[in-house]
């Protein structure tokens, strides 16, 4: 049991703890002594103070807006039965697995210069960021709260109604308190995601709208001020750790009266009920469908009419100064990086899951902390990972700057927590008596492992592989710091294309986004193939 635990811990130590310690050194240490001036500057410099303030405001507003819109969607999926429900439930999840860069370009297509709602003047405003964040996180609220809601016994609400409570009071006094753990969890996740949002802000925010994350990138890549970047990273780290701690307190309780999901759904009976369904469907279609539909349409809408021109342009743009290689090569790079990420994160995350589940079953309390520790890179943001790699792994003792493996390793740090979250519930679900049942039927211990553990674990690994692959394909925050110009990934190419003037790069960015969506959906289809009915939460 020592080796399986040692590999994930060593991986985390070398590729996460060491870079973070290096960041701490850069930000807190100067001339052989503790120096807090860079940290102080974050709160006194008017420009940086505004960045911190804006980060909090946009995250807070995004969270409130997402909850407001997502809760009615959660109710819809939990309690109302309507035609096309199953398809729509899968469809609303799509934005969540989309790369942030793709979401950014979709909204640029919608709100920007030639977009159908350009007259709203939302391009480059806080409004654009908020809408994109709602788009991205809608699924979090619908899935987390809706999933929980559908298992709440509706007879409790009926009991309140019989006792004389009206609809509103029933919702306020009975339903809402019961939903509290799920709402708290969704709030925490959405706030964390929007607080550390990078790609969307970079693309939609324009130069004036900077958050801590984009400012770390600007300080590093444009101003080359690594000390300030380190100080910002430290502030962000502290904020995220505090946030994660608060979440731990909020999410503890679980309602007990849970029921099978199918029985709690009813067809709408009143005109108001049907109107509610229709309004929700319009919101979903407008919010979720329009940007993606437009993205696809724009990728074909060349100045000379619909054609594959922009897709062809991906192969031709290599000659000019910005791109050393034709952007189309990014497709191969992204797939190769994603495959390597899948292998690394399956080994690291798979071993960690096995250790965690085995320890839990022996009543070892360290299991939970191992799970928490390995989730850290996910929580503290991809930008921290990328920045840490940039300043820690480019000089002895560990110089990986030119290594091809740098990017898959960074992606794996982000994918491992997902792998663990996917695999450990499935491994945990192996009832020890299943092994006994196999043994009584004549299976030797080796055969039991092969027939039970490997079969179920293999399925879990298939799902986790799909996630790891999709995460790597879309990863942008960490990649932006460490990518090499001759080996760009698809999100990097999309970002660069969006930054260039003219219709052809913009159209090519749309085309690259469509390719990225197609690749990501392929990974999602793989996940669905491995899913067992009734297992897992994702």
């Amino acid at each position: 049991m020592l080796l399986p635990a040692a590999i994930p811990l060593a991986f985390l130590g070398v590729f996460f703890v060491y870079p973070v310690v290096t960041i701490l050194g850069r930000g807190l240490w100067a001339d052989g002594g503790l120096d807090l001036t860079p940290i102080g500057d974050v709160f006194t410099d008017p420009g940086l103070r505004h960045v911190v303030w804006f980060t909090l405001v946009q995250a807070g507003l995004s969270t409130v807006l997402t909850l407001a819109i997502g809760l009615s969607g959660a109710y819809l999926f939990a309690r109302v039965s309507f035609p096309g429900r199953g398809f729509l439930h899968a469809a609303v999840t799509v934005p969540f697995v989309l790369p942030t860069v793709v979401v950014g370009s979709a909204f640029l297509a919608l709100l920007g210069g030639h977009g159908p709602v350009a007259f709203l003047g939302l391009n480059g405003t806080l409004g654009a960021i908020l809408i994109a964040h709602v788009f991205f996180n809608y699924a979090v609220v619908v899935r987390t709260v809706g999933g929980f809601w559908s298992h709440l016994d509706p007879r409790r609400e009926e009991a309140a109604r019989v006792l004389g409570a009206g609809r509103v009071r029933t919702f306020w006094h009975v339903t809402l308190p019961a939903l509290r753990p799920a709402i708290a969890a969704a709030t925490a996740i959405v706030f964390l995601f929007t607080f550390t949002s990078f790609g969307i802000i970079l693309i939609l925010g324009g130069p004036q709208r900077a958050t801590i994350e984009t400012e770390i990138y600007r300080q590093t890549a444009v101003l080359l001020d690594l000390r300030t970047a380190a100080a910002l990273t430290i502030v962000q780290l502290v904020a995220v750790v505090v946030l994660l701690g608060l979440t731990g307190f909020a999410g503890g309780r679980r309602a007990l009266d849970l029921r099978a999901a199918a029985t709690t759904r009813r067809r709408p009976r009143s005109a108001g009920g049907r109107a509610f369904v229709i309004v929700n469907l319009v919101v979903m279609a407008g919010l979720l469908g329009a940007p993606l539909g437009l993205l696809v349409q724009r990728s074909f809408a060349t100045p000379d009419g619909p054609s594959l021109g922009f897709y062809r342009a991906l192969g031709d743009l290599g000659a000019d100064s910005v791109f050393i290689v034709p952007p189309i090569e990014a497709v191969r790079n992204s797939i190769e990086f994603a495959l390597a990420t899948t292998v690394i994160s399956l080994v690291v995350g798979g071993l960690a899951s096995v250790v965690i589940v085995a320890r839990e079953q022996r009543g070892n309390r360290l299991a939970r902390s191992l799970d928490g520790v390995l989730a850290l890179p996910l929580g503290v943001s991809a930008v921290t990972v990328g920045f840490g790699f940039l300043i820690a792994l480019d000089s002895p003792p560990l110089n990986l700057r030119t290594s091809w493996w740098l990017i898959p390793i960074a992606h794996s740090l982000i994918a491992v927590p997902f792998v663990i979250r996917t695999m450990s519930p499935l491994l945990r679900a192996i009832d020890p008596r299943l092994r006994e049942a196999a043994a009584v039927l004549g299976a030797s211990p080796a055969r039991v492992w092969r027939e039970i553990d490997l079969r179920i674990g293999g399925r879990a690994a298939g799902i986790a592989a799909g996630f790891a692959f999709a995460i790597s394909l879309g990863e942008f925050g960490a990649t932006a710091f460490i990518v090499r110009p001759d080996r760009p990934t698809l999100p990097v190419v999309i970002y660069r294309l969006l930054g260039r003037p003219g219709p052809t790069p913009f159209g090519a960015a749309m085309a690259a986004s469509v390719i990225l969506i197609a690749l990501t959906l392929t990974a999602v289809v793989v996940i669905e193939r491995f899913r067992v009915p009734g297992a897992g939460e994702f």
Binding site: D431, A438, V440, L441, G442, A443, S444, E451, R455, P533
Partner: protein, 332 residues
């Protein structure tokens, strides 16, 4: 023939099994009966070889099995909640044991289908296990257990999760199947009716110890200990001449010859009989009165109670021992 002796197992400080001896002749069915936590399931697990910490010996036809691992014992075990393999369909579940014993794919498939037909599930071969009802899952578990033709079948409360009517039907089918296939079985339950309906022998367990092993009718008529008597429904206690007389509800009659004067506190109709509750001082009696009887007492009546010695047993007085009272068991 299964012979087990001195089976003992400790879970930490708790003694789950305490020197249990038993014997099941080939082709017979032994019911193990006892309240929750009396060690019934543990006994099956020890016989199956699933409890490495157990001491004592398990022998099959004289062969000592202590060094034979579970998967080579050729026993079958039906778990309380079936433990079907969710990642395999119905027929693959049933084939599993046959495949483990080296049957070819064709033979395994053929015999699995036959086992499914035997339990009334022909046509269910390619169903997923989670699509099945509780009764169907139970049948698949049974088919899976009998398909490799185990020399001993162990059943752990196989009907635990099923409703009464289904239980009664399956019980009859199971008994017929056992007879037809000549199966040797150990059947664990906490339900008296189940235990007596299916068994050739009954073992009463109490806190890990064997209280009584015998023929069902004999155990029912003459419980060897006060615990067994109470567990089997000897609910009335009458102290006579310094001895303690225990009587079933049908062991007390209401009549003029009676010697105990009691007041009726409740009278409930149970289809074929009335159950009358009466108190005399601190003593409380439960008496059955035939539904055909025209003189059913009403609440508040004073009645005279008479003990029918044939349905009562006499035990030496014992010190008050809370563990002796099995009435806390919800199923009794």
């Amino acid at each position: 023939m299964l012979e087990a002796s001195e089976l003992t197992l400790d879970y930490g400080a708790v003694r789950a099994l305490d020197h249990v001896d038993l014997e099941v002749p080939t082709g017979d069915v032994l019911s193990v009966l006892g309240p929750s936590g009396s060690g019934k399931s543990t006994l099956l697990r020890v016989i199956a070889g699933l409890e490495p910490g157990a001491t004592g010996s398990v022998r099959w036809s004289g062969e000592d099995l202590s060094s034979v691992p579970t998967h080579r014992r050729q026993f079958g075990l039906m778990f309380q909640d079936h433990m079907l393999f969710a990642h395999r369909d119905v027929v693959a579940n049933v084939e599993f044991g046959l495949r483990m014993h080296g049957a070819s794919r064709r033979v395994a498939s053929e015999r699995a289908r036959r086992a499914l037909t035997l339990v009334g599930l022909a046509g269910y071969e390619s169903r997923r296990t989670h699509e099945l009802s509780g009764g169907e899952q139970q049948r698949v578990a049974l088919a899976r257990a009998i398909a490799p033709e185990p020399r001993l079948l162990l059943l752990d409360e196989p009907f635990g999760s099923l409703d009464r009517a289904l239980r009664d039907r399956l019980l009859v089918e199971l008994r017929e199947l056992f007879t037809e296939l000549g199966i040797t079985a150990v059947f664990v339950t906490h339900d008296h009716d189940e235990a007596f309906a299916i068994a050739d022998h009954v073992l009463i367990l109490r806190a890990g110890r064997a209280e009584q092993l015998g023929d069902p009718v004999e155990v029912w008529r003459a419980p060897a200990t006060e615990f067994t008597a109470r567990f089997l429904g000897f609910v009335n206690t009458i102290d006579v001449d310094g001895d303690r007389l225990l009587a079933r509800a049908d062991g007390i009659r209401i009549g003029t010859e009676g010697t105990i004067e009691a007041t009726v506190t409740a009278c409930t109709f149970r289809r074929d009989h009335f159950l009358v509750t009466a108190v005399a001082g601190s003593a409380r009696y439960e008496i059955t009165v035939s539904a055909d009887d025209r003189t059913v007492p009403s609440v508040g009546d004073t009645v005279m109670l008479e003990v029918d010695e044939r349905a009562a047993r006499r035990y030496p007085p014992s010190a008050a021992d809370p563990a002796t009272d099995p009435s806390t068991d919800p199923s009794s």
